[in-house]
């Protein structure tokens, strides 16, 4: 009795462990608030928003298509291989099984990297086909390992009997062997499909720009906070799979221990019909329909388009729709998470992006490495709305204002929670205050982390002096025990959720956090900080330069710039747009538009050269691995 209860409790605990996160995600999909750390009431709006979110729907479609095609091909190759292997002599079989074990046991990261190296060596463009090949590769073993046991169970005699009775080998196989191994083939297919669907690591390395599966889309969103639509989608997927599998599982089974002649009840016929016919037809139908739908969107104006490469969550999606409607140019939109991730992609030239939005120091680097095209300002008359001060600051990295048009700007500062910090904060020094142990969120990017520390020490944040850098490194190591986490944009959600007292944040994010949590305050420390500008540039290899200029021009239109500002809350350099802001408090916000005096000690980042970059990275690794 006790044993039975203990067993039940144990099962229940494991069940909770497995399903707690899933319940969490389902609950989050009904959360009205955009951040995951606050419950804003129940809503269904994300479910309707989901179907209008073209990026997510595209990622979903790619994911399903890759899962289906890779599982199908893997099932074909894998089943054939299993039959072949089964008929081999022992030695050969061991070799083949060893080969099969490699992808099963190999680390995903090594497999992803090795495939990426191969594709690049073969000059294949990373994209849909490379992901597909990679998925087929890791799917085949699952199929082989599902089919092999079934093959072992089939009796050779029946097959030979069929041959003796005059069946051709083909016929004998399909009439005798195949029905026996079918369950193995099907479960292999399902496994392959599931594995492909759930894969992130291998896709992460073999995907190219322009293609996203749900996993990679989610990963790029992690830093910015997951869009609630994603929770809604996952919930829908999960629930539909649950229903589907329950249907299949409760289909009355034709088991051997049913001695009575099987009566096919009406119910079971319906079940069979649903699971065998309706579901596959629906699946194929959705894929084909989706293919046409999204295919037509892309192909109709394939020539008249512009490929945009921007930071994540850095534009109001409606602005893109408006641009497409007004100009008839279709926008291919891609996101990056950091300047450092963006740069190699532009440099390799694998994809000809038309317009990109890097930060100041990266623009300098791109310009110095001759990656940028000069802008034709005849096509960008709206540049006149951009404030002179911003064009002047731009000269730091673009001396003649020839290559870039400012898009957003801001500062880096301290965001603190007034309920947890009772003293006024005006110095970076608080980041080293023992009082706030485990309550500090530090930036997880080299330049930002060092910039803050160098400023605190009174040095320039563009320092390349080894002594100064060593001092900063030591200070960062000293700080590490006090730090709760190194994060990038997650500062936002964590600060809203009262997770920490102090965080380093970009001014644009600070405004948003104040909307969600009124206890938060932003300050630019007196030692000075980083002032940055993100600007639009056009890479030299752009294929649609005029469209790109039209796009930049469109974004400089005051009403559009205003719309964007209201969505992303990063300070706009568009003075005309600023004057149009209705809310006086925001128009005069010290966070969005700080006074000149506050910016006195602030510097922009400069590109320091590849060697200095490596020095920074080495020092940073020292900090991180301490």
């Amino acid at each position: 009795m006790i044993r039975k209860y203990a067993q039940r409790i144990y099962l229940a605990l494991i069940f909770i462990l497995l399903y707690a996160p899933i319940v969490t995600l389902i609950v989050l999909s009904f959360n009205k608030s955009k951040t995951r750390s606050k419950w804003g009431g129940a809503t269904l709006k994300w479910y309707s928003a989901l179907f209008q979110n073209e990026q997510i729907m595209n990622a979903l479609y790619t994911t399903l298509l890759i899962a289906l095609v890779s599982a199908l091909i893997a099932t074909l190759i894998g089943t054939a291989a299993a039959i072949g292997i089964q008929s081999m002599k022992r030695k050969m079989r061991t070799v083949f099984m060893g080969l099969t074990n490699i992808p099963m046991l190999n680390a995903e990261i090594v497999m992803g990297i090795s495939l990426m190296l191969l594709f690049i060596a073969c000059n294949m463009t990373l994209g849909f086909s490379t992901i597909l090949i990679a998925h087929i590769t890791f799917n085949i073993p699952y199929v082989i390992l599902s089919v092999m046991p079934k093959l072992k169970q089939t009796k050779r005699a029946t097959y030979e009997a069929a041959l003796d009775l005059g069946a051709s080998p083909m016929m004998a196989f399909f009439k005798v062997v195949f029905p026996d191994i079918l369950p193995g083939v099907l479960s292999g297919f399902m496994l392959a499909f599931t594995m492909s669907l759930d894969d992130f690591v291998i896709t992460h390395f073999t995907k190219g720009p322009g293609v996203d599966t749900l996993s990679t889309k989610i990963y790029s969103e992690v830093r910015k906070g997951i869009k609630p639509e994603m929770y809604a989608l996952s919930t829908l997927l999960f629930v539909s799979v649950l229903i589907l599998l329950l249907l299949i599982n409760y289909t009355p089974k034709k088991t051997e221990d049913q001695p009575v002649p099987r009566v096919i009840t009406k119910r079971s016929r319906v079940f069979n019909f649903v699971t065998r016919r309706v579901v596959p037809v629906l699946l194929v139908g959705v894929l084909v329909f989706g293919g046409f739908y999204y295919g037509s969107q892309g192909s109709l104006n394939s020539d008249n388009r512009v490929i945009v490469y921007n930071w994540g969550e850095y534009i109001d999606p409606e602005v893109i729709t408006m641009f497409e409607e007004e100009t008839g140019i279709s926008v291919v939109y891609e996101e990056f998470e950091t300047n450092e991730i963006m740069y190699p992609k532009i440099q390799s030239g694998a994809i000809a992006y038309d317009v990109v939005c890097p930060s100041d120091y990266m623009i300098q680097r791109m310009r110095e490495n001759d990656l940028l095209a000069e802008l034709n300002f005849d096509n960008i008359p709206n540049i006149k709305y951009i404030g002179d001060t911003y064009l002047k600051s731009s000269r730091e990295f673009d001396p003649e204002n020839k290559y870039s048009v400012p898009y957003c700007w801001g500062t880096v500062g301290i965001l603190y929670n007034k309920t947890m910090v009772d003293e006024p904060i005006d110095s970076w020094g608080v980041l080293w205050d023992e009082k706030y142990k485990d309550n500090i969120l530090m930036q997880d990017s080299v330049r930002d982390a060092f910039g803050v520390t160098l400023k605190y020490l009174g040095y320039s944040l563009n320092s390349t002096d080894l002594d100064e850098l060593t001092a900063a490194t030591n200070l960062l190591i000293e700080q590490k025990p006090l730090v709760q986490a190194y994060v990038i944009d997650q500062v936002r959600d964590k600060m809203i959720g009262n997770e920490a007292a102090i965080g380093i944040i970009y001014s644009g994010e600070a405004i948003y956090t104040q909307f969600e949590n009124e206890n938060l305050e932003y300050v630019i420390p007196k030692e000075g900080s980083n002032i940055w500008i993100d600007s639009w540039v056009i890479p030299k290899n752009a294929e649609h330069k005029e469209n790109a200029e039209a796009f930049i021009n469109f974004l400089c239109r005051p009403d559009i710039a205003l719309k964007n500002f209201e969505y992303i809350t990063y300070s706009t350099p568009n003075t005309a747009a600023r004057e149009m802001i209705e809310d006086e408090e925001i128009r005069n916000s010290k966070i969005a538009f700080p006074d000149e005096s506050e910016l006195e000690n602030c510097e922009t980042f400069k590109f320091l050269g590849d060697d200095a970059d490596r020095v920074y990275l080495d020092f940073w690794n020292k900090v991180k691995s301490k």
Binding site: Y10, I14, L17, L18, A20, P21, I22, T24, L25, R36, S37, I77, G78, A80, A81, I83, G84, I85, M88, F96, G98, I102, L105, A107, E108, I109, V110, I113, S114, L117, L118, A121, I140, L145, S146, P169, T194, D198, S215, Y219, V222, Y231, F238, L245, N249, T255, E340, I341, D444, Q484, A485, Y486, K494, G497, N498, R614, L617, N621, K624, S625
Partner: protein, 277 residues
């Protein structure tokens, strides 16, 4: 005669697979070796391998080994009783069991792991419940404990399924025989059940150990960027530092552990009995 030629043609069915494996499994691995043993100009060097022994990388490797070992042990301790219970249940729809463990995979791996953040955070769900019950709060987010939890959570099914698969195949008569011959429950387990289930256990151990050793996602999402595992270092070398040679060198070191696991599998689980699915 006919039979033999047939056998031959049957073997040919494995041809496409052989081609595929060589092109997309073997050759890519050789490329990792090539990059790992050359420098940026393509000249032979052992520098990349030597980089593994820098204090930072050794620490990352050591941490990864430690955490993955702990998670493997926890997974085994959790999974064995679980598999036993499930096997005893003798549910005729064994697919239902598999279903319970496969089902979570339909919720994206990253989202599932991220959900643990929401659960574990200082002001997260679990702590809210604990405070409500006037219990001390749980502060493990951004620590190695959270990473271990994430590993156990993500890789537990890979331990349960192989053990379950082996256990259900054990002939109950063998157990009865042991009992009839006077062995008590514990002795039966040690002398009969466990040795018979060893292929599943070994297979489960490698299926958990290797992904745990090499993950960068779990440590990224639950470790707060404070704990670098070897997977993080490799990922950074490829995606951020774009230093492919060093990254490949580190991957080669990882492969030593993977090859060791494969050798163990080949030794203890010859017929692939303990394969997960």
């Amino acid at each position: 005669m006919r039979r033999r030629s047939q056998l031959k043609s049957k073997k040919l069915l494995a041809g496409p697979y052989l081609f595929w494996s060589v092109s997309f499994v073997v050759i890519p691995l050789l490329m990792v070796f090539y990059y790992g043993l050359t420098d940026e100009s393509g000249a032979f060097t052992l520098d990349n391998l030597a980089k593994t022994t820098s204090p930072e990388n050794l620490k990352a490797l050591g941490m990864a080994l430690l955490l993955s070992l702990i998670s493997t042990v926890i997974c085994l301790l959790l999974a064995y009783p679980l598999a036993t219970i499930l096997a005893e249940k003798n549910v005729n729809q064994s697919s239902f069991i598999v279903l319970i463990f496969i089902l979570p995979m339909w919720m994206n791996f990253l989202l599932r792991t991220l959900a643990w953040q929401t659960l574990l955070e200082k002001t997260g769900v679990i702590n809210n419940i604990l405070t409500f019950l006037h219990l001390p709060s749980l502060n493990i987010i951004n620590t190695p404990y959270a990473i271990v939890l994430g590993m156990v959570y993500n890789f537990l099914p890979f331990m349960v399924l192989p053990i379950y698969n082996v256990l259900v195949k054990i002939d109950p008569n063998v157990i009865f025989a042991a009992r009839d011959l006077g062995a008590n429950g514990f002795q039966t387990f040690i002398k009969v059940t466990f040795p018979l289930s060893l292929p599943g256990v070994i297979s489960g151990i490698t299926m958990v150990f290797v992904p745990a050793l090499t993950t960068f996602v779990v440590s990224d999402l639950l470790g707060g960027g404070k704990i670098l595992l070897i997977g993080n270092v490799i990922e950074q070398a490829f995606k951020q530092g774009s230093n492919w040679n060093v990254g490949s060198g580190l991957s080669m070191v990882l492969m030593i552990f993977i090859i060791a696991s494969m050798a163990i599998i080949a030794k203890y689980d010859k017929d692939g009995e303990g394969t997960t699915f």
